[in-house]
Each structure stands twice: as C-alpha cells, then as structure tokens.
C-alpha cells in the first residue's frame, strides 16, 4: 500500500468517526444558528490534515491532531466574530469566549472527552425532534453526524443532490428559527425521545440492508453508521435503554446474514437457500448478548420482538428446523403492539410454512384491497407463493408479474422472474 493510500484510508475512517462529533461540539460553541459555520470548520480541519500529513506523515494521534486543529480554527473564528451578531454571546456558557482571560480554557473545556460524547448524543436527539420529518432527520444525521457528502446522502436516498440540499436547508432553518439547544432529554421524557432516534437509526439501517441499492459501498456505510450511532447510545449511561439494546441486537442478527443474501452477480438469495455457513457467528453471538441485555425493565418493544424472530432464524442449523411456532408467537405479539399491515403480511408467510397455503390464503383475505399493500410488491409476491403451492400456476404467475411491476430493486425483480421461469418450465 502506498503511504498516500494509507493516509486516505485513515482520513476517510477518521472523518466518518470524528466529523460528527466535531460538528456537534462546534454547534454547541457557535449555536444552532450557525450549523454551516460548524461544518465549515470541520471541513477546514480535514483539509489541513490532508495537506499537512501528506508532507510530514501521520501524527501519532491523528484524532487529537484533528480536534486540536478544529479547536484552534474555532478560536480564530470567535476572535473574528466577537463583535458581530452572528454568534449569541449572551449565553453564560459562551460569554467567556469573548474575553482573552478565558477564551483558551473555555475552548478546552468544550473539547473534553465527556462533553464531546454528550454533545454528540444531544445532537442526535435534536436531529430527531418530532417536528422534523423523518426524511429530513435522517438526511441531516447522515450529512452532519456521519460525515456523508451531499452526493453520498443523495445516493443513499436514490434522489438528487438538489433535493438533499433543500432538505438540509429546511432542517437548518428549523434549528435557526427555534434556537434549538441540543440536550440529552430528562429521564421522564427520554423514552419517547429515544424512540424517534431509534426509528431514524432503524430506517437508516434498512436503507442500507434492503437490496434496492446497487452501490455496495453506500450500503455498507449506511449499515455500519447506523450500528455506530446505536452503539453511541449504549455507551452513555443515560441512554442505555432496553429498546436500544434490542435494536442493536436486531441489527447484529441482520448484518450477520448480509453476505448470504446476495449472489456475486447481485441476485437475491431467499432464506431457505442461504448458505448458513457464511453467517457471521461472531455477530450472532454479539446479537445474542445484546438481546440478553435488552431483557430488563418492562419494555417489550417491536425491536425486542423483531430481534427475537431474527434470533430464531440465526440460531437454527437449517431452514427445515426453524421453530415456526415460536416465531408465530412473536408475530402475534408484534400485532398486539401495532396492527401493522406489513407485519400481518409477513405473518401470513409464517402460516404458509406452518399450516400450508389454505390457512395462509384465508389470513391474507383479511387484508385484500388494502390501499398500501396493493402497491407493495411483497403482498403480490406472497400471493404468488400461496397460489403456487395451491398448484394454481397461472394465478401465481400473474401475481408474480404484478410484484415485478411494483419493485424498483433489480435483485428482487430478478428473483421473481426466476420464480416465473420455474413455473413455466
């Protein structure tokens, strides 16, 4: 490996891991009215790192180097803007930045390890404020806290950079207008607030986990970033809630199977055909650990149940030995929490495995003509599956064809085409 490559990789990794934390600290220093300023300082620090390290090699502690550089740049900005109206210095925390007696040491305080972690979490909660739409939440998290470029965020959402810029602008406007002060919520509201953070993280994870994306790098990034965000919540005592452990566990189980879901050519491999020897046993063990840790308190969330289902799949040796009865129980509990039609649909698949196509058909009749499901490829795919087993190949093919029309994902389309081909031959 060339030294330059080594530096690039280190910077990329460092950038992903540290830029969000630096942005969070700088937003605390400059205020939420000045998010761009915070982002600019981080960008500058990274450019300085690239330029300096190229000539002098990597410092012993690149992270510390980066933080120090960002801190010094922030000091320059404070000195420059001391008398401007851009930064609100009336705040007692920031007041001390205006005097040379206290500027340097106040700055140092802002960058204490404990503060950095807290500011980062506080920013996560601020991003997931219920007033901000979930799309905008995730866009902002990816851009500001995960160090994605606008281009990468656009790729993640399969949309244009222009759309992403607009979303970011709206979120920043919201912060500016309401002068939001990021903070970790008080114990009495932490449960509710954490649930929006978790749902953003899970959505991000699914964006990476689902095979709509051709871009492997983006997918892996989305997965590792969502797990990293979740891990950040687990690293702080105030946010170690059972549902956070549960989501972490669920993501570990899913990620453990990631390499067995897709062929080299990018075709989808369904659960019965997946090569279980490729599943990541370390991640499965980790997931089981987290699932055990999730079992305190009286919270039984959808994450707990989904993790329990994933655990069932991950810990049996073959598809044939899957404990469908146990899994069905979890589905019933899931439906108790939330009558989610997608969950109901997946439950039909379990019935198909457990009791055969007649039962499954009877159950799926219940949700026939459901507005959302009618547009959902999986609904038609499952109906195809049921009719195929009922030995009604023509009806099955029709459903499969309908499903193909409804998905954008090439691997999914390909998978459905194979089913049709299998019937017609």
């Amino acid at each position: 490996m060339e030294p330059k490559d080594h530096i690039d990789n280190t910077i990329n990794h460092l950038f992903r891991q540290e830029s969000g934390k630096m942005v969070a600290v700088l937003i605390k220093i400059f205020g939420t009215e000045n998010i761009e300023l915070a982002e600019d300082v981080v960008q500058d620090a990274l450019v300085s790192a690239l330029e300096t390290w190229k000539y002098r090699g990597m410092p012993d502690n690149p992270r510390a180097w980066l933080y120090r550089t960002a801190r010094n740049k922030a000091i320059d900005i404070i000195r420059r803007k001391k008398h401007s109206k851009t930064i609100d210095f009336s705040d007692p925390e920031r007041k001390l930045l205006t005097s040379e007696y206290t500027l340097a040491s106040t700055m140092k305080d802002f960058w204490k390890e404990q503060h950095i972690q807290d500011d980062f979490l506080a920013m996560m909660y601020a991003c997931c404020h219920p007033d901000i739409s979930q799309e905008n939440q995730i866009t902002f998290i990816l851009k500001s806290l995960c160090g994605f470029s606008t281009k990468e965020v656009a790729k993640s959402f399969l949309t244009s950079e222009d759309t992403i810029s607009k979303r970011l602008y709206r979120t920043k406007e919201y912060f500016r207008k309401h002068k939001i002060r990021p903070s970790i919520p008080f114990p009495e509201e932490i449960g509710v607030r954490t649930s929006s953070v978790l749902s953003a993280i899970y959505l991000m994870f699914n964006e990476g986990y689902n095979s709509t994306h051709d871009d492997q790098l983006i997918r892996k990034d989305l997965i590792s970033q969502s797990m990293w965000l979740c891990k950040s919540l687990l690293d702080s005592e105030r946010t170690q809630l059972p549902e956070v452990y549960a989501l972490m566990s669920l993501m570990c189980f899913h990620t453990a199977r990631i390499n067995s879901r897709i062929t080299e050519q990018g075709a989808l491999i369904l659960l019965p055909d997946q090569d279980r020897s490729t599943w990541d046993t370390k991640l499965i063990a980790l997931g089981s650990n987290y699932l055990n840790q999730a079992a305190f308190g009286d919270a039984l969330t959808t994450y707990h149940l989904e993790a329990a289902i994933a655990y069932q799949h991950c810990t049996v040796l073959s598809y044939e030995t899957t404990n469908w009865k146990e899994i069905l129980k979890y589905y019933d509990l899931l439906l108790n929490i939330d009558k989610d039609p997608i969950v109901y649909l997946n439950r039909c698949l379990i019935l198909l495995e457990l009791y055969g196509p007649e039962e499954a058909l009877e159950a799926i009749e219940e949700i026939r003509d459901h507005k959302i499901l009618n547009k959902y490829y999986l609904y038609h795919a499952i109906l195809g599956e049921i009719h195929e087993r009922l030995i009604q190949p023509h009806i099955a093919v029709e459903y499969y064809q309908q499903a193909i029309q409804l998905t954008q994902s090439k691997p999914e389309q390909h998978c459905l085409q194979q089913k049709i081909a299998r019937i017609l031959n």
């Binding site: 007692p92 007041k95 001390l96 005097s99 040379e100 007696y101 206290t102 040491s105 106040t106």
Partner: protein, 114 residues
C-alpha cells in the same frame, strides 16, 4: 444593578517567572471566577492588555512610544462587572485571581452623565 470597572495593575514580575503548570493553574482560576460571574449574570466583559502601548500628551500632539506607568503601576487588564454597590463590587473583586500575582485592583463605578 450598576456597572463597575476593575482596573488590574502590576503583576509582571511574578508573571515572568511562573512555570507553565503554574500559568495553567492561574488560567483555570480565571476560568472559574469569571465563569461564576457569567453564570450569575454579573459579567459584562473584560480583557488582559499587552504591555506595549503609546502615551499621548500635549493635546494628542505628543506621542510617547510606551505607557508612562512602570511595573506596579502598569494596567495589565480590566473587567466590567455588574453589582449593586461599590461595597458589593469590591466584595466580588476580592476573589480576582490577579492577586495571586501581587496585582492591585482598583474598582470604580461607571458614572452616569446627566
């Protein structure tokens, strides 16, 4: 609430001979003291000053390339604070870290000009 100016003088000798650790400690004291003033909304502002300067006399026509004051008399910094009375302001000034450097502190109320 009235405003008061604190003029801090001297301290150069000790300042010149202090170790980096001592300096660090001293700065932390400033941080704590001013921090508590800011928290109580008593701090308006304040800055340390460079030793170099110029002195203007004779109606501004004559400029001397140094402050007239020497050593103990040289103003090394100032603070503007809010307090109820001169007694109160003096009480606040007692905790000024500059005393660690044998400085003198003069406390003066801002005069309203009617």
């Amino acid at each position: 609430m009235k405003e008061f100016l604190m003029l801090i003088r001297g301290g150069q000798e000790k300042y010149d001979s202090v170790s980096p650790e001592g300096m660090q400690k001293h700065m932390e004291h400033w941080q704590q003291w001013m921090g508590s003033l800011a928290q109580e909304d008593k701090l308006v502002g304040g800055q340390p000053l460079m030793n170099e300067g110029s002195t203007m006399t004779e109606g501004g026509k004559k400029v001397t390339d140094r402050p007239f004051a020497e050593g103990k008399e040289l103003v090394g910094g100032y603070l503007l604070i809010k307090a109820d009375s001169l007694v109160h302001a003096t009480e606040i000034a007692k905790d000024c870290p500059s005393f660690e450097y044998d400085c003198s502190v003069e406390v003066r109320e801002i005069a309203p000009m009617d």
